[in-house]
Symmetry: C2
Subunit: 344 residues, 2 copies
């Protein structure tokens, strides 16, 4: 373990982004590795997960969680290794899923930390298809979207950590699946590798028209993780009784101010009424109950049998996390965004 850093590098928020997060909003600092007190353990973070929700924590606006303070270390899920432990439940060498943040080392009291079995051949899956994004896809699609055989399911960010899983589960449930993704390469991957029935490039000028043609029988479930222009194109295609699980709105996260008028709220509300839509938001952290165990069992089986495929998008080195996060905000990632903290 000679290659371990001797200081703790961490990335702190120095200012709140106006719009897209830029390099100037972040600073890489080096501090001492924290000392471990009774009832604590020290984690060395190996892999950092980058997820769209983090953008909300960089803003001051009220949300479902507290914002990161100016000068504070950015938060995030990690795969970490216990390097020192004064907790009976964790031993040095344990590999764990933790909330270690954008840094080399983290102190933990053990709360919310989950030991990963050595049988988990890809520990990073615990941050993706077997973790929060995978469970988000599973719960949102099955419990809120309630897709039925033969229905049309549309999901944006179709090759991302959540969208790719949503579409593949919908296929397993006998649905027709139409993805939306940015660029031809992602669309090709969605249809050839993930088995989607179609995938529409939202960067194309005739995107809305293509979506309408492709969804010739309308849309029964729209898994909302984008918002903005994609939602506008989807809304008129929703069928009577359609369900819209609202999981994220990445297109809005970096918006500065509201779109120009007119105010289209009445169009949305009238659609909700006339088409008897169910539009329902959820935050996956509310749902770590029996459903989560069921998810782990089902998803592990699907992965083992090759029925769910999964792709990761790696960035090397903690110092590159801010740029990778901006890339994620722009849809530049191709698969689940992850940072190998040590790099190299």
């Amino acid at each position: 373990m000679q290659d371990l850093p001797s200081v703790n590098r961490r990335i702190v928020l120095v200012s709140r982004p106006a719009g897209l997060p830029e390099a100037s909003n972040f600073r890489l600092e080096s501090t001492d590795i924290p000392a471990v007190a009774d009832g604590q353990m020290l984690l060395r973070n190996e892999v950092l997960s980058l997820d769209p929700y983090m953008r909300g924590r960089m803003s001051e606006a009220a949300s479902y969680a507290e914002p990161v303070a100016i000068g504070g270390t950015l938060i995030g899920g990690t795969v970490s290794v216990v390097v020192e432990s004064r907790l009976s439940q964790f031993a040095v060498g344990d590999r764990v899923l933790a909330y270690g943040g954008w840094q080399d080392y983290a102190l933990s009291h053990g709360e919310g930390v989950v030991r990963l079995t050595p049988e988990l051949t890809h520990p990073s899956y615990a941050l993706g298809v077997l973790g929060m994004p995978g469970y988000t896809a599973y719960h949102g699609l099955l419990r809120i979207g309630e897709p039925r055989t033969g229905e049309t399911v549309v999901v944006a960010a179709a090759t991302g950590a959540v969208g790719s899983v949503v579409g593949q589960i919908a296929k397993l449930k006998g649905c027709r699946v139409v993805g939306i993704a940015g660029g031809e390469a992602k669309c090709h991957y969605a249809t050839t590798e993930l088995g989607f029935d179609a995938c529409i490039d939202h960067q194309a000028a005739d995107f809305a028209e293509k979506l309408r043609e492709t969804c010739h029988s309308g849309i029964d479930v729209y898994f909302e993780n984008v918002g903005g222009a994609v939602f506008s194109a989807v809304l008129p295609l929703l069928n009577t009784g359609a369900r819209v699980p609202v999981c994220g709105l990445i297109a809005l996260y970096n918006a500065q101010g509201l779109p120009q008028g007119p105010d289209l709220t009445p169009v949305l509300m009238r659609s909700v009424l006339v088409k008897r839509l169910r539009v329902q938001g959820f935050i996956i952290s509310d749902h770590y109950d029996a459903g989560h165990t069921q998810f782990l069992n089902e998803m592990s089986g699907w992965l083992a049998s090759g029925r769910i495929r999964y792709r990761e998008h790696w960035t090397q080195g903690l110092e590159n996390a801010p740029a990778a996060f901006k890339e994620l905000m722009l849809g530049g990632n191709f698969g689940k965004a992850l940072v190998r903290i040590g790099g190299g």
Copy 2:
């Protein structure tokens, strides 16, 4: 029965309203009383129900039902008496709930016609608290709103056919109920007669502020039958996990064009996500199943025991139906809007 009209008076749509329906959009015509063929019966309409949904049928815009044709008789629920029958299931003298429309007489094949028992002391209740509006309130509140004891339920049009029942059922379920109504008289009635905990006048300049003060613990269920400015005042007060059954949007029905910008759709969608809202539209005609029998049983009991109170707003004479309908659109009614077709 010497006072029966010898011709069939009917009100037809001569032009589609732009905004509020005006007298010029309607014409009172007299035609022959239609002849009854085999498999038909002739109904004399006694009471016509006026309901906000009718505004939608006067427009050409796509909705959940076909619009009334230009030159066609306006549609509507009625309490009617069978005056001639060539149907085995109905006898002359039967009083029925029918879809007789804005006219003295209607031919019917018997489909969707329900015989009213002579024990029903107020036959007009079949058009209100025991009919479509009452079931709308019951289903929307209990099946979609799912109120729990101690929660705060807000309903607009609080003294109307639907709102008054929503609020009273919510009280029976142990909720805190805040009504919204137009004018002091209605607000007084909601608190003193209907038992609401509070009622806010939406005509007051400080309406939004008053609503916020009154809903000091936020809003858990907002029964949406209005839209517009009331919804805008409610949205920031919704609690995490709040439910919004969308039953009607009367404030939008007569709007000409969309409100000026900016586009507030992102504000609504962000609230849905961050607060995990469930916003769900429904049309009561989808739900005439076992739940309807349960409604009839429960509501009959509540009425008999005086636990649900109910008020009607009568207009005399078919010829006054257009003006009464415009009054309903403006919130000028005070209770369920009904027309005694024969007048007098």
